[in-house]
Symmetry: C2
Subunit: 263 residues, 2 copies
């Protein structure tokens, strides 16, 4: 199975242009599952609720989901991409899952980060897993990584690949995703963006790139640079994520002892 | 507060000699909390149940706990150290917590690793936290690190320092403990051993050293070598572990959303 990340550099607010550039950059990509960043086509640093409402879109009827559906059909691949979602008057930091056969679903970010808490509702979808044929995939968004419960909940639901659209500004996540992959024996695909935003007099945000694919054994199969757009596809053997045996005496998930865990 | 690890190289089965060498090596150490490895004075690679029964000790009446109590009194410090515990005919992979005022308690390893499952009972103490005055400390043993629930359960019970006696043979733990400290905003002290054991025709085990103290911000305050005994003490500010604020909008533990987690 071929999986990849598309590390982008969107221009804030220019959704249509960002969508067109992404479509163009994808060229003749050969991939089964492609992950794009959080807020992949809008940019990140909203300065007020009006901006959020203006750039948020209904799912799946909005232009971003429709454009991703077109990419998925054209390239015969599944796509996971982040966008601000509008549901009535509520806004969510969401990620859509689409494939050649159509729209599969949407995840709403459970753990909002920093000023996102001002503009978005805490996600109410819960962590979800989709069977896309060659693999079962789960989705978490950016800061969700900080809470080990996120990837764990996906793994317990059978996720073999954790798709992780991100707009990372803190330095820890790329290395921590090695731990997330290892402790759940899953592949993880973190798609981050690059560039800087400093809007409305706010302190600048520098996005750290370093998108990556990590194996269930904690090997970094590919890691992108910190400052360039990058489209990378790697071949993985999903069976590695189905084998939860650590050694002849330890089975990762069976050896959990939830009676002793506090939740 | 001064905390440290004592990275040792015990000789298998020579408990009395290992205890004496440790006491001698401690010299005039100035420390408030010292963590020693898993099975700190027995060695690790048991080849049959008889050996385990022979080297396991009642707690707190056995010689290892008594020797550690003497160290704690003499140096006016708290000590966390691993030992094989015998309770009736049951054996546990345990760690004791002792201080100048006496025996505080014992933790029995929740997640047994590899052949430990042949010789030891799965721990039934649960994860425990002790208030030792300058800090609240929790204990987990070696492979417990692999399960994020271990450190999380300790943090949710108020642990500010995770004491982590270990006999690590896999390469991932030292870096993963950065994630464990970060995701719980706690200090962690991993005390590992060095050297190799190849007993009874079994494949050799090489212990990876790399004992370390990690801060709640994920900084490695000290990391030992892979192949030398080492006694290291560092000064920490425990208040850092009491401040769970990640930024003005995010409080680490309050922002958990257990309703969406699977346990």
């Amino acid at each position: 199975m071929k999986v990849g990340y598309f590390q982008t550099h969107p221009e804030f607010g220019e959704v249509q242009r960002n969508l067109e550039q992404a479509a163009s950059r994808l060229g003749s990509v050969d991939c089964d599952l492609l992950v794009l960043p959080e807020f992949a086509f809008t940019g990140y640093q909203f300065v007020n609720q009006e901006e959020v409402l203006e750039l948020s879109e209904p799912v799946p009827d909005g232009p971003t989901t429709q454009a991703c559906l077109e990419l998925a059909r054209h390239h015969r691949m599944h796509v996971v991409a982040g966008l601000p979602e509008k549901a009535g008057e509520q806004c969510y930091n969401s990620a859509i899952v689409v494939g050649p056969s159509g729209f599969l679903g949407c995840y709403r970010k459970t753990h909002l980060f920093c000023e996102e808490t001002l503009f978005f509702n805490p996600g109410d979808s819960g962590f979800r897993v989709w069977d896309i044929g060659p693999a079962r995939i789960g989705v978490m968004i950016c800061f969700d990584w900080y809470y080990p419960e996120s990837a764990r909940t996906l793994a317990l639901q059978g996720a073999e690949i954790v798709c992780h659209p991100s707009n990372l500004v803190l330095p820890h996540c790329p290395d921590a995703m090695v731990t997330r992959s290892l402790e759940n024996r899953v592949f993880s695909i973190t798609a981050n963006r690059i560039g800087q935003e400093a809007r409305g007099g706010k302190p600048p945000l520098t996005f750290i790139g370093n998108s990556e694919v990590v194996s269930p054994q904690g090997h970094i199969l590919s890691r992108a640079s910190v400052d360039a757009p990058e489209l990378t596809v790697v071949e993985i053997d999903v069976d590695q994520a189905r084998n939860k045996s650590i050694n002849p005496y330890n089975e990762l998930l069976k050896d959990r002892r939830p009676g002793y865990y506090r939740s």
